[in-house]
Structure formats: structure tokens, C-alpha cells
């Protein structure tokens, strides 16, 4: 199945792109998507302890299931205001 990965702020800079399309095998969770991303780009790994994740623009857990067509976002610690 095909999912869209969204990356923001320094994660986006590290990956060189804010939007990636990836094929993952079903069944998959946010964690599956993150693992394959880190395999591809080990420099992202440092964010594993501090980031938040979202599925289809809603906060989610690493254990959340993802489906074909979903948008999975990885978010560094926030600094708005």
C-alpha cells in the first residue's frame, strides 16, 4: 500500500523533503513507517524519543494502524507562540 510521509522543521531539513511517498507492506503501523524511514535515513533516528506523530492530521500513537492512502506525519518538539 502507498502512504504519504510528512516531515516538518528540522526533520524536513534532515530528510531534504517535507513530503515523501512510500510503499509499505500491510499490515503496518506508524512505527513500521518510521522504522523504514530510519533505515533509509539514519540521521532521523535522534528524533525517536522526542517527536510526536499524526495520522491524517490527527495526533496518534506509534502503535496506530495505517491504511492505504494515509498521511503519516513526524513532528519535532514544537516551538510556536
Amino acid at each position: 500500500m502507498r502512504i504519504t510521509v510528512r516531515l516538518f522543521a528540522r526533520l524536513r531539513d534532515l530528510a531534504g523533503s517535507g513530503e515523501l511517498v512510500r510503499d509499505v507492506e500491510m499490515p503496518a503501523t506508524v512505527e513500521t513507517v518510521w522504522r523504514s524511514l530510519v533505515d533509509e535515513m539514519p540521521r532521523l533516528r535522534d528524533y525517536e524519543r522526542t517527536m510526536s506523530v499524526a495520522v491524517n492530521a490527527d495526533y496518534a500513537k506509534m502503535s496506530a494502524k495505517v491504511s492505504d492512502g494515509d498521511e503519516v506525519a513526524f513532528l519535532p518538539p514544537v516551538s510556536g507562540g
Binding site: 516538518f8 522543521a9 522526542t50 517527536m51 510526536s52 492530521a57 514544537v78 510556536g80 507562540g81
Partner: protein
């Protein structure tokens, strides 16, 4: 503009007061907060900031915050606009308005909102300073973190 928004346009406090307060004569108080781009940060001379947002989730998180505030101060209405894109020194990055029959609720809801924005809204500052640039990183966003929510409430009611 809606009471809650993420926008690249300059922020207009009076427009937000009008949006939130409207023509209500039940209100006795409007409290407002304006966050500004400061010239110094952690010893660095700031040149300008670039704000980035995950917009749909940022709007949802802002809406969640205003619902939380209403649950605590149920006679209070809140508006919040966050600006994104490049902001120069002295420009407003966020404006918050809380209207209520009573000033204590207006002040508390306003303070609660800015504290929660810093905890859970997916917006990031890219600071450009004399000699370089850096992404600022604050809180790991978790809307279900009760301790963070309670900390924001304590500050709001201090």
C-alpha cells in the same frame, strides 16, 4: 477570519476582538495577548524568524485548546490567530483574545491558551540570527498529557 486560524497575513487584534466579542453586552472584560518577535534569544542577535506549521493539525490543536479553556471558564469565549512565514523583529506572531463577564476568567483563559499553544500546537520557529540559523524545539506535543495540561492551568490561575 474565523476565531481560530493559522495565517501568513499580518495579525489584526481589533478584528479578532470584534470576532470574539461581537456585539455582546454581557461581557465585562476582554483580555488579550500579543506574542512578538524579539531581537535577542539565548544570547543570539535575532535577524528574523520563519514560522512553519502543519496547518490542518495546528488548527485542530488550537480548537482543542479553546474547548479546554471553555471547559474551565465556561462563560468565556476565546479567539487565537497564529501567523506563519517570515516575520521581522517586532512583528506579532500570535494574538489571543478572551472575552468574559468577569476579568479573572478572561485573564486566566488568555494565559492558559498561550501556555497550551507552546505545548501542543504543531508550529515551529526557524530562527535566523547573526552568524547562522537554528530550528527551535520546545515541548514534545501530546494533547493527552494530563500533567502538561494541569501545569498550564496552574500558571493560568496563579
Amino acid at each position: 477570519m474565523a476565531a481560530v486560524a493559522v495565517t501568513s497575513a499580518p495579525l489584526d487584534l481589533q478584528a479578532l476582538i470584534d470576532e470574539v466579542g461581537g456585539a455582546s453586552t454581557a461581557d465585562g472584560a476582554v483580555a488579550s495577548f500579543i506574542g512578538l518577535v524579539r531581537e535577542e534569544n539565548q544570547g543570539r542577535r535575532v535577524s528574523f524568524l520563519e514560522y512553519e506549521a502543519y496547518e490542518p493539525l495546528a488548527v485542530r490543536a488550537l480548537q482543542l485548546i479553546t474547548e479546554e479553556a471553555r471547559a474551565s471558564w465556561d462563560d468565556t469565549r476565546i479567539g487565537v490567530h497564529h501567523r506563519i512565514g517570515r516575520l521581522e523583529l517586532g512583528e506579532a506572531s500570535i494574538i489571543i483574545v478572551a472575552a468574559s463577564p468577569h476579568r479573572a476568567h478572561a485573564f486566566a483563559a488568555c494565559r492558559y491558551t498561550i501556555e497550551r499553544v507552546k505545548q501542543i500546537v504543531p508550529i515551529w520557529k526557524h530562527e535566523h540570527f547573526e552568524g547562522g540559523d537554528v530550528w527551535l524545539e520546545g515541548a514534545t506535543a501530546d494533547p493527552d498529557d494530563e500533567a502538561a495540561r494541569e501545569a498550564a492551568r496552574r500558571i493560568a490561575c496563579a
